[in-house]
């Protein structure tokens, strides 16, 4: 369960625990686990100060498979518990692993409040648009028409967009990646880790048992180039196998449109430059989806602000400076006291 001698530089393997992995063979979670282990190794973080907190779901089994500290908590509450961990000890590096059910259905409120408070946490939301662990009911992110055990005639609820919700709640960091895109995912996770404050990463994850291929529209190798746009701060918003397509502002409207360089007089300069600090742009990018638009991946929004625990620390410092080493004996004697002689 633990090892006392720590090698100088840990490898991805060193971040694996001794527990047998219990996801379905072929589940997208395996790939994410690999990417996280790689990221931790690349970052060179110490195992002992890294904590993974999760809720309940297939995805939330994650902490068992890492050799760091881990807490597999209760359904939907990981953000609240992780906030307690981080506020109690800000020196810890705290990650949350959650699912679309865990983080957006039962845990939606904790997710939005964590984002608003901006505690320095990384939230990894494995979105497979289904409740995996409870055997396949539709989730808040399931598409309309999803036939599931609880919607035998198809669901008709409008799916929630995790990214839109996060921005609406005041997120300061929003990124997206895909389970199978190892390099991209490692990059995104590294950026999320680097961001001080709550980083929200939506990872499109394939549940091959209950929702196989639900993201194939943009994850299939054959179409990926034409249906994904990898946004990068300061770079023009281009995509396509020829890198000749892109997004530009529709003149006179708050809208983007897909254009092709060389067509209709469009030049590269017409394409919008991605500004990851621009909230309005992030709001629009997050809503784009195939077939009309490419799916935006990468760091969509990053605009740091003071973290919750920085603020806590500051208030404590101010208070302690004003009144150092709070003397309890003195405290209980404040106000009116009287003495009864012996």
């Amino acid at each position: 369960m633990s090892s006392a001698t720590v090698p100088d530089k840990l490898t991805a393997k060193d971040f694996a625990s001794d527990q047998e992995i219990r996801w379905c063979p072929g589940c997208g979670d395996y790939a994410i686990l690999k990417a996280v282990q790689r990221t931790l190794a690349d970052l060179g973080v110490p195992r002992e100060s890294t904590v993974f907190v999760s809720g309940i779901g297939c995805s939330s089994r994650f902490p068992y498979y890492l050799s760091t500290y881990g807490f597999h908590t209760i359904h939907g509450r990981a953000p609240a518990i992780a906030t307690g961990v981080k506020v109690a000890n800000p020196d810890l590096d705290v990650w949350i692993v959650t699912g679309d059910g865990d983080g957006l259905s039962i845990g939606g409120n904790h997710t939005i409040h964590a984002l608003r408070r901006n505690v320095d946490l990384q939230i990894l939301l494995f979105n497979n648009e289904i409740y995996g662990l409870t055997k396949g009911q539709y989730s808040p992110t399931s598409r309309r028409g999803t036939v599931s055990p609880s919607t035998p005639h198809g669901s008709f609820e409008t799916p929630m967009s995790p990214g839109s919700l996060a921005l609406g709640a005041g997120a300061r960091f929003l990124a997206r990646s895909v389970d199978t895109m190892q390099k991209h995912l490692v990059d995104v996770l590294t950026r999320a880790h680097g961001h001080r404050g709550t980083s929200f990463v939506e990872i499109f994850q394939n549940c091959l048992v209950f929702n196989d291929g639900v993201f194939s529209e943009f994850t299939e190798r054959t179409v990926a180039a034409e249906t994904q746009i990898h946004v990068e701060h300061g770079q023009r918003l281009t995509f396509g196998s020829e890198r000749n397509r892109g997004l530009r502002l529709k003149p006179g409207a708050l809208e983007l449109e897909v254009v092709t360089i060389g067509e209709d007089g469009v030049t590269e300069d017409d394409l919008l430059v991605h500004d990851e600090t621009n909230r309005a742009l992030a709001s629009v990018l997050v809503g784009l989806c195939p077939p009309a638009f490419p799916q935006a991946l990468g760091v969509i929004y990053c605009n740091p602000a003071p973290t919750y625990e920085d603020n806590v620390r500051e208030q404590i410092t101010v208070a302690e400076t004003a009144q150092p080493h709070g003397d309890l004996n003195a405290l209980i004697r404040t106000g009116k006291t009287w003495e009864v002689a012996g």
């Binding site: 050799s67 307690g84 209980i332």
Partner: protein
Amino acid sequence: MTTRPAAEQRGRETVESVVIRFAGDSGDGIQVTGTQFTTATAVFGNDFATFPDFPAEIRAPAGTTFGVSAFQIRFGSQDIANSGDQPDTLVALNPAALKVNLPDLKKGGMVVLDQGAFTARNLSKAGYDTNPLENGALSGYRVIPIDISKMTLEAVKPFGLSQKEALRCKNFWTLGLMLWMYGRNREPAVEWLTEKFSHREELAKSNIAALNAGHVFGEAVELSSEIPVYAVPKAEARPGVYRAVTGTEALVYGLLAGTRAANLKLVFGSYPITPASSLLHMLAKLKSYGVTTFQAEDEIAAACFAIGASFAGSLGVTSSSGPGVALKTEALGLAINTELPLVLINSQRAGPSTGMPTKTDQGDLFQAVYGRNSDAPLPVVAAATPADCFEVAFEAVRLASRYMTPVILLTDGYLANATEPWLLPDLGALPTFRAQFRTDPAGFHPFVRDPETLARAWAVPGTPGLEHRIGGLEKDYDSGNVSYDPDNHQRMTDVRMEKIGRIADDVPLQTVQVGPERGAVAVVGWGSSFGAISEAVMQARSDGLDVSHIHIRHIWPLPRNLGELLAGFDKILVAEMNKGQLLALLRSTYLVPAEGIQQVTGKPFHVREILDAIRSRMEQ
């Protein structure tokens, strides 16, 4: 008012104890009057107990009955265990206050009222069709009508306040009169006003002038002997420094002292709810004492936050009241299963559901002991008096950290705001019980247990070599890994139960509060009905009845000797403000034919009712 054939002191009638209730509109400053009267009484040297009773509304329309605020104090020269059933004296600053409080006044009691407030408008707002000063409604009481409003305006005239501000001084005029009536000093009130209004001197001066004017008025009228004066001699008390303390304050100090004794950081997560919020408010001010507070988005998050803090090596504390505690149930299960320390403070209020949020109750014992899915044992402790909150909070921290378990501490809306004198302990002299963090990787797994306490090892994140994963799934006894093995589940279920059961060996044996250790009747209580039961039993004993009072702090597990103790009584009466919760616990645990004495009114227990019940059950 118990009158004693004692030597008159400067013409004052000496009484052993008195109950005064101050009542007025919530804008009248009644709570301040009460608190200042209490301070003067404390400094004088009486024992006392107070009970503030706020209206449910934030700022109800002035003059209405639901806007009435009251403050009751009982003080005396003997032990005062509760704030009294019926006031001897009612101070009513407006018609609504009279209307609401008169029914409680003792037959023949005294009513001091502000005649100037008995205007047609105020009478109608209070719902009086005719003026009670004139319609005979007060016959049978000793009424002292004074135009306090007018006298106050006169007294503060020199300071140029607005009419509204000037009238606001009438509570200090009244205080002055009452201090004179009971022979108490004005200095503490003057001091308080001077500090309070240091930024607005004219307010300090006006209020002091009103205070003095009230006092002088008493002296002047005395000549005509219209107003009676009393002496309530000092009480005997253990020597030392005292202060008046509310249950909330005592809880805060107990948590602070406890976490220092355990050498743990206090991390507190809560969500506002009446009557628990004051704990959050007080702790939020104590950042310089190393306290971290967090206002969560709801009670679930508050509990989870605290659990996270405990996982990270602090002592997580959370608090709420009935409905909010219900919401924390699932999280409590996690703390039980993962065996993390946690203190959950429940300020009980009247229910079910929203119920009567500002009213007190003892209805959450079942919830605390039994209210979770599966076999999910945890220790429960209950505070008996405001000052007792200190010790009980200290104990809760000890149990949580020593046994790696959530602990529920039961207090209530009455204790939160009530005060009594507290003999200040020397905190440096309290026992310590430093929490043991595991650091040694040899033989470590997260559920390796202390053979004595059965507590699991607490290895906190940040400790190299002890990296581990815990969670709410059942785990293997021998490795701490997830396990679905049937025999292992039995073993883990047994050990969780046994761990909590063993706490009974680590808590004091149950003592008898009042009366002998065996006899005809034991009245058994818990929580804030302490005072009323204690008084009732003392009165019964002085009436010659063979009754004892047993008051239980450790609700679960029950003290080891309790069964034996109860067996020494012919009859057991369990007095509680619910429909029989401790009663059921004692009956099922000890198979004793205990009976209940129950009151569920949202008000503290009446001594009288307990006494009557004792008498009638003894006659049976």
